[in-house]
Amino acid sequence: MNAYAVPRTIIAGQAGLVDQRRRSLLIARLRLLLVIVVFVLVALAALVKIAFVGLVQPGPAQQSMADALLPPRGEITDRNGVPLARAFPAYALWYNPAAMTEGNEGGPPLVRSPEAVAQELKAIFPDLNTYEVTQQLASGRPGYLRRRVLPEDANKVMHIGELALELPQEEDRHYPQGSLAAHVLGYVAADGDGRVGMEQVLNDRLLDPARRAEPVALSIDMRVQGALEDELRRGMLSVNAVGAAGIVLDVDTGEVLALASLPEFDPNQVESSDVRVTQEQHDRGITAPAFNRVTNQVYELGSTFKPLTVAAAIDSGAITDLSRRYSATPYKVQGHTIRDSHPLGATLNTPQMLIHSSNIVTGHIVDEMGAETLRSYMVELGMNERPYIELPARGFPLWASGSWQRIRAITVGYGHGISVTPLHLASAYAAMVNGGIWRPATLHRIAPGEAPRGRRVFRASTSARMNQLLRMIAVYGTGRNADAPGFRVGGKTGSAEKPGVGGYRQTTLVSTFAAAFPMDNPRYVVIAMLDEPQGTVASSYQRTAAWNAAPIVGRLVPRIGPQLGVMPDAHRDIDLTDLRPLVGDVN
């Protein structure tokens, strides 16, 4: 028992020792394992991190080039792709006084004195107001010193070396042509939406991410627009007119190639005075520069209506013989005397009536045609509704509703008692010369062969006859100043007295020249209108359209003709031989 017990004790003792050893060994191993596991985990984590950094992180999220180049607002171009309005990441010159004094440690915001910096800026921007800028720099308030800084000038500003002059790039709308076609384009207001012109009409299209990468082409031809504005401005200034309007229209498609209203505004820099007038200005009849005289202002356009009346009379069969003579002595209708500006002889035939612009004979023709016939032709020509064009500002004509009395029809026959926009007149003339089809005017470029069908107003034979008559007015009549050599211009003058308080004011006129060229195959209608022209040296002290509006067309057509594919040709003209004997001795 003891023998067993001792060794057992020994064994037990040994066994306890071994056990303890084993246990501590196990614990040590476990601890080691734990440490290794921790190390391995740390190493793994490091490896994963390295793998992540090496494999995943440097691959930057791919940015699509198309996305990066997508403008924030779509571009508007002319019909040949010349940009008229584009999103432009322009530089702005921002004064940040905190740039030098980060952490509000005090100290001056500029390295040099405000006066010296203002002088340096003045050297870069000659139109800078040195005093105002010096005040702003000295005041220590952040703010814009200037916007739309050109890249070249931005570099020069950087070279001044003032930290406080920052040049952030801002998304901006830029009109490279300045005030050109301002009324067609409109502008983009501070809220990012377009105003006035096509910027307003196309606002959704220009902001749509799916479509704004594609520029929108207008029907405008930038070169024609430039020439029209240039000649209109020259004509307007030379006769001290308060305003001018002009339009060039394609007779076969209704595309507007140029549309100008003066005075104009600069869409790059729209002032509140450009869009609003004071009450005092409003009372004096002054309109804001952003007001579109071509589509929004209605005028009595005077004698330019006479060809339309004659066309209606020929078309309806009231005139079958152009040589028939009408009395040209003043006569009374419903208490009003119809008279001419000066005596034109005892009798006149239709071509003579147009050449000399006789109100009396127009009255006789309207009488024979009947008021209702003239009215229906005017309705067909769209004179009783707003003009068809995309622009938001379209004036409603002053149109006598109901059936017309005799006196109303007679006055409308020579362009009084009806007020329409110059665009109405352009569309009507286009219908008269293009073979008789009236089409709505449009500012969108129309692909060849996709012109709207339009509606027939005059017969083709009537249109051909009117082309001869219009050409005769320019060759023998009041439109001689518009007869650009080789371009076969035909057109009619119109000088209407403006209505004022208590009747017509004889000293204030609206003089218009409505023309088409080349008359042997009319392609374009040109309207030039002057609001309240004065008699000056340039117009030989005359105020009528023959002396101020007609020369504008005469100078404009040679400029735009070759650009529009109408080459001058002195050996070509519409055949006038059958009508020439009717006008007698004119030279």
């Binding site: 940009p83 890249p151 490279p176 240039d230």
Partner: protein, 179 residues
């Protein structure tokens, strides 16, 4: 013994598989890194293109702004005075163009002619041709070598056939130059 070899072989195979797997993984990792690098380069190039396009647009806009129609018209008025072409500056038909080349009609005013000399008149001797190198008169055979018409030299200074004998080449026959 056999079993031991088998075990060793199996272990070796296992290590081999692991090595192969490791190599593949390493190659894949390398490839992946390469792809990422190229990709990053493409993105960088794209960004550069975008920035250049923007610069291009800025410069184009600046150019358009400086050369806008109003500005050009103002310059033209003050500095150049260009006017639109007139009708007589255009030729509208081949017939009109051909008119310029046709013989004048009977009784038409004579066209302005330039003064000139014709053969048969008193044609002065053509100056001797002198070598630019030696300063001596050129020998006729030097010129003859290159000419097929036996050294005939002629110049054309007036309309119509013209013969100018060259005094410097005595042997040369006088040629005819046709315009």
């Amino acid at each position: 013994m056999n079993q031991m070899t088998n075990n060793g072989l199996r272990g070796f195979r296992r290590i081999g598989w692991f090595a192969a797997l490791g190599t593949c993984l390493a190659l894949y990792a390398l490839l992946h890194i390469k792809v990422t690098a190229v990709h990053a380069e493409v993105v960088r190039a794209e960004r550069q293109i975008v920035s250049l396009e923007e610069q291009n647009m800025l410069l184009e806009t600046e150019f358009l702004t400086r050369s806008n129609q109003v500005q050009l018209a103002a310059w033209n008025r003050v500095d150049f005075g260009f006017q639109s072409p007139t009708a007589d500056q255009f030729i509208n038909s081949p017939r009109q163009l051909a008119q310029y080349g046709s013989a004048p009609a009977e009784g038409a005013p004579a066209p302005i002619r330039l003064a000139g000399l014709r053969s048969g008149e008193d044609v002065p001797a053509f100056p001797q041709i002198v070598s630019p190198l030696t300063g001596r008169p050129i020998k006729a055979n030097l010129l003859e070598e290159e000419r097929e018409d036996n050294g005939a030299l002629a110049v054309t200074i007036a309309p119509g056939p013209l013969r100018v004998p060259i005094a410097g080449i005595a042997e040369a026959s006088v040629g005819v130059a046709q315009r």
